[in-house]
């Protein structure tokens, strides 16, 4: 009942100010990206070439796919810390199957066709994701701990299988296709990994915005789990499937990274967990879930990538990269808290009346 006094004010502002505010809030991340992009175009002549713009897309592709899965998980108020391990694991798995033996150095012997190797690696990702989802829902285990545990397990397996070195492959068949480029005009071309990422985003958008499954995901997030269950939604099934999606997408990203590097190594996914969470939050999906979406996440990925690339073009020592990534992540979470209106002295004009 404490909320009552705020009703009218919200009601009125829903029409004019509210719409404006929502448009700005929705465009916010995009405007930030645009600003950084233009800034870099001005500051660095080297950045203005088709090659470096293509590189930006290429560098964003794998992490974008991981972050897409992360968006699903965070949408339901969960979190998946195992994604970077999954990227490494699926790359290592595919590489070993293609190379046919566990020899660091990349001897091709007795391997299976790349397409099967990739399918096996990706299916493994899906199954492991589903399994984590089952532990989280059926045994009511904390997602933070479960996925952190699987992070160690998957990294450990990758390390054991590779003895800490990379398993090298020769690109052929599917691994060749997914690393190709689609030529556009002149020097311009579109890296295939990014096209794959775009496709995945489009499908995810349709699922989240236009299908029952997606609506239920929104419903479960934002503390709506009990209300969703009492509305007849099979909450457990949705949650298990979402962890499956995250595993699947991380595994797909793993195959992309491995194909691009021609090497499956346990370091392939380094940092991807943190970056994916930061991208989701920067993109407007709060850590409690229930709102936001995948396109925002893609903008989030671009923002992080352009900052990283900008440092390269502006000759910032590469050792400082970690610091900047860390700062971005902390800022992203701060942004999340501010957006939620949790900080009383910083409400961005969005006064909360209710308690």
């Amino acid at each position: 009942m404490a909320a009552e006094s705020g009703v009218e004010s919200r009601g009125q502002s829903t029409n004019l100010l509210g719409t404006l505010r929502r448009v700005i809030a929705g465009l916010g991340p995009f405007l930030v990206f645009l600003f950084l992009f233009v800034l870099l175009l001005i500051l660095s002549p080297a950045f203005r070439s088709p090659t470096s713009l293509g590189l930006l897309l290429l560098e964003s592709a794998a992490i974008a796919i991981v972050a897409c899965g992360q968006t699903f998980v965070i949408m339901i108020g969960g979190i998946d810390l195992s994604v970077e391990a999954m990227v490494s694991f699926s790359g290592v798995t595919a590489a070993i199957l293609i190379a046919g033996s566990n020899i660091a150095g990349g001897q091709v012997a007795n391997g299976i066709p790349a397409i099967y190797a990739v399918l096996i690696a990706v299916s493994a990702g899906l199954l492991i994701g589903l399994f984590q989802g089952m532990l989280i829902t059926l045994f009511r285990m904390n997602p933070l701990i479960v996925t952190l545990g699987f992070r160690s397990i998957l990294l450990g397996i990758s390390l054991v299988w590779t003895n800490g070195a990379g398993i090298n492959i020769v690109r052929e068949g599917i691994t060749d296709t997914i690393t190709s480029r689609i030529p556009l005009v002149g020097d311009w071309n579109l890296p295939m990994p990014f096209v794959i990422a775009l496709t995945i985003y489009a499908i995810s958008w349709v699922i989240l915005r236009h299908m029952r499954f997606g609506r239920y995901a929104y419903a479960i997030g934002g503390n709506g789990e009990e209300a969703s269950r009492l509305s007849g939604i099979n909450v457990n099934r949705i949650k298990i499937m979402i962890y499956g999606i995250s595993g699947l997408l991380a595994a797909i990203a793993g195959v992309l990274v491995m194909s691009r590097l021609r090497s499956g190594a346990y370091q392939n996914g380094t940092n991807m967990t943190l970056i994916s969470v930061a991208a989701v939050v920067i993109g407007g999906t709060p850590l409690t879930g229930g709102k936001g979406g995948v396109w925002g996440t893609m903008i989030g990925v671009f923002i992080i990538r352009i900052v990283e690339q900008g440092m390269v073009y502006l000759s910032v020592p590469s050792n400082a990269k970690e610091i900047v990534v860390g700062v971005i992540i902390v800022l992203a979470v701060l942004l999340d808290v501010i957006r939620q209106g949790e900080i009383t002295w910083l409400r961005l004009g969005k006064r909360r009346v209710e308690t």
């Binding site: 909320a3 009703v7 934002g222 509305s231």
Partner: protein, 511 residues
């Protein structure tokens, strides 16, 4: 309203105005509270009660006007300052830490120290004294979470006494209390009054407000209406001043011809919560379920709906045996549950009105086997918004921002959309304005008039008595009796609810 009898004034609020963006929450409110007075503040939701006490307790600051407390003009910038000054607020949702002990809760933020260490023995001794003052037999070292809501609330009172409060504000103190606990709370309030402590009492229960308060201040739409001694007005006066119009009928009961049995429950058991519960409800019938807090009423509805697992029991819908393991099964069989806790369990607060209404029936709104048909979804939502007169600015308005009555109508819409035969309705009008209550009753009436059945759990006996065709009383997880509408009285319900069923039937025989 003018000062009377030259009585001393403990608190005076003059011309208090508070604006929130786009709304005038309080418009020149006046309030005078004397020492040793129990002062009620009543008004519909949105009248400004909460805002007013938040200003008093330092959560908000007034834009205009002044607060004079104990003869001095004061401005409290935060609850702590108000508390030190002698104003303590006991909120509806208790600000307690359940996993700490009773004494830790009482002394939270003002621990007794000896040097850098907490002086546990002294804290224990003093807590004991405070609790004894309230004649509470609670071990101060007990974990607070193990107490019932009633006792936990008494601990809050003890805490207020510890802070030497001159003014205690109680916001909906009885919302979660059983009748015995309410009686006990009133006794404590009376003792506080005798010792010169003033109490501001805010409640939706007008009967209670009438019973305990010396004077009552009425607010409406952020405006000050009047302050009157209780003895100088009737309940009708009070309601008229609150609502600003006369309510033709508080309970618009309609008699509906009853049809077939729609739901039958046989031998339902669930741990120690439900023991061998059997009953049935017919088309056109409203079955009221009465009982004390903790008697198992909510548990019963949840068990029927498949929200919690049961040990044993059979359900029959329309004469057919059905199995219900999950709310999905109940919905498929035409049973719907409107929960007591609307915000956490009934609504998806972060989603829009449209999305809330359609959530239960999305599978029927799908085209091409997969995609949600947005057009049909919008049609469905606007159909219910119109037919139930839900006040919203647009279908996309978040339900978080709706009033209690409109939220309840959204919950009702999402269930009516599933075309249920049986509504399990837990506390249908809790936290809802007097005006909106009548609308909810009318919607319930039209539901049974169209051949549905309602099982209505309520803690408000007048509501149970007025709206039910038949009343089932539960006591400690068992059905202690059924009463027909004609024979039901508050006293008979209370006899059954408190477990004096033998005496009850003896009394009945005497009558």
């Amino acid at each position: 309203m003018a000062e009377q009898n030259g009585d001393s004034i403990l608190l005076e609020m003059r011309g208090i105005t508070k604006r929130f963006p786009g709304v005038l929450a309080l418009d020149r409110i006046n309030l005078q509270v004397r020492p040793g007075e129990v002062h009620g503040i009543v008004g519909e939701n949105g009248a400004g009660k909460s805002t007013l006490i938040k200003i008093l307790s330092g959560v908000y600051q007034a834009d205009e006007g002044e607060v004079i407390f104990k003869g001095q003009r004061v401005v409290h910038n935060n609850p702590r300052q108000a508390q030190i000054a002698g104003i303590t607020t006991i909120y509806q949702e208790l600000n307690q830490i359940p996993h700490l002990t009773v004494m830790e809760n009482i002394y939270l933020g003002s621990e007794i120290m000896r040097g850098p260490f907490v002086d546990w023995p002294e804290m224990r001794r003093r807590s004991q004294t405070l609790l004894q003052k309230l004649r509470l037999e609670i071990d101060p070292a007990m974990t607070l979470g193990k107490l019932g809501v009633g006792q936990a609330q008494m601990v809050e009172v003890a805490k207020a006494l510890h802070h030497k409060a001159d003014l205690i504000i109680m916001d909906e103190p009885t919302a979660a209390l059983s009748l015995t606990e309410i009686a006990y709370l009133f006794q404590i309030i009376n003792e506080l009054r005798d010792s010169g402590v003033a109490v501001i009492y805010i409640s939706h229960h007008l009967e209670e407000t009438f019973e305990i308060c010396d004077r009552i201040t009425i607010l409406r739409d952020g405006q000050y209406i009047d302050t009157r001694p209780r003895d100088e007005m009737t309940m009708d006066d009070l309601i008229r001043m609150m609502v600003g119009r006369t309510l033709d009928e508080q309970f618009p009961k309609e008699n509906v011809e009853q049809g077939n049995e729609l739901l039958r429950v046989e031998g339902l058991n669930q741990g120690s919560r439900l023991k061998d519960v059997s009953f049935s409800v017919r088309a056109g019938e409203i079955l009221g379920v009465a009982g004390l807090v903790g008697a198992g009423r909510t548990e019963l509805l949840r068990a029927i709906f498949g929200a919690d697992p049961i040990d044993s029991g059979k359900f029959f819908v329309n004469g057919q045996a059905v199995t219900i393991h999950h709310p999905r099964d109940a919905i498929r069989n035409g049973v719907a549950l409107l929960t007591e806790d609307r915000k956490q369990q009934g609504l998806l607060l972060h989603l829009s009105t449209r999305q809330n209404i359609s959530i239960t029936v999305l599978d029927t709104l799908v085209r091409a086997r997969m995609l949600i048909d947005r057009r049909r979804e919008t049609e469905l939502a606007s159909k219910y918004v119109d037919s139930m007169a839900i006040k919203i600015t647009s279908l996309e308005q978040l339900v978080r921002n709706l009033s209690g009555g409109n939220q309840q109508k959204v919950v009702l819409s999402k269930w009516i959309a599933t075309q249920p035969r049986v509504l399990l309705f837990d506390e249908p009008t809790r936290g809802i304005d007097v005006g909106a209550k009548v609308e909810i009753y009318r919607l319930m009436n039209s539901f049974v008039a169209q051949g549905g059945a309602v099982v209505m759990v309520s803690s408000e006996l007048p509501e149970i008595l007025a709206m039910s065709d038949r009343i089932m009383v539960v006591h400690e997880g068992r059905v202690s009796g059924f009463l027909d509408r004609a024979e039901a009285t508050q006293e008979r319900i209370m006899e059954l609810a408190t477990g004096y069923s033998n005496q009850g039937s003896a009394n009945a025989a005497q009558e």
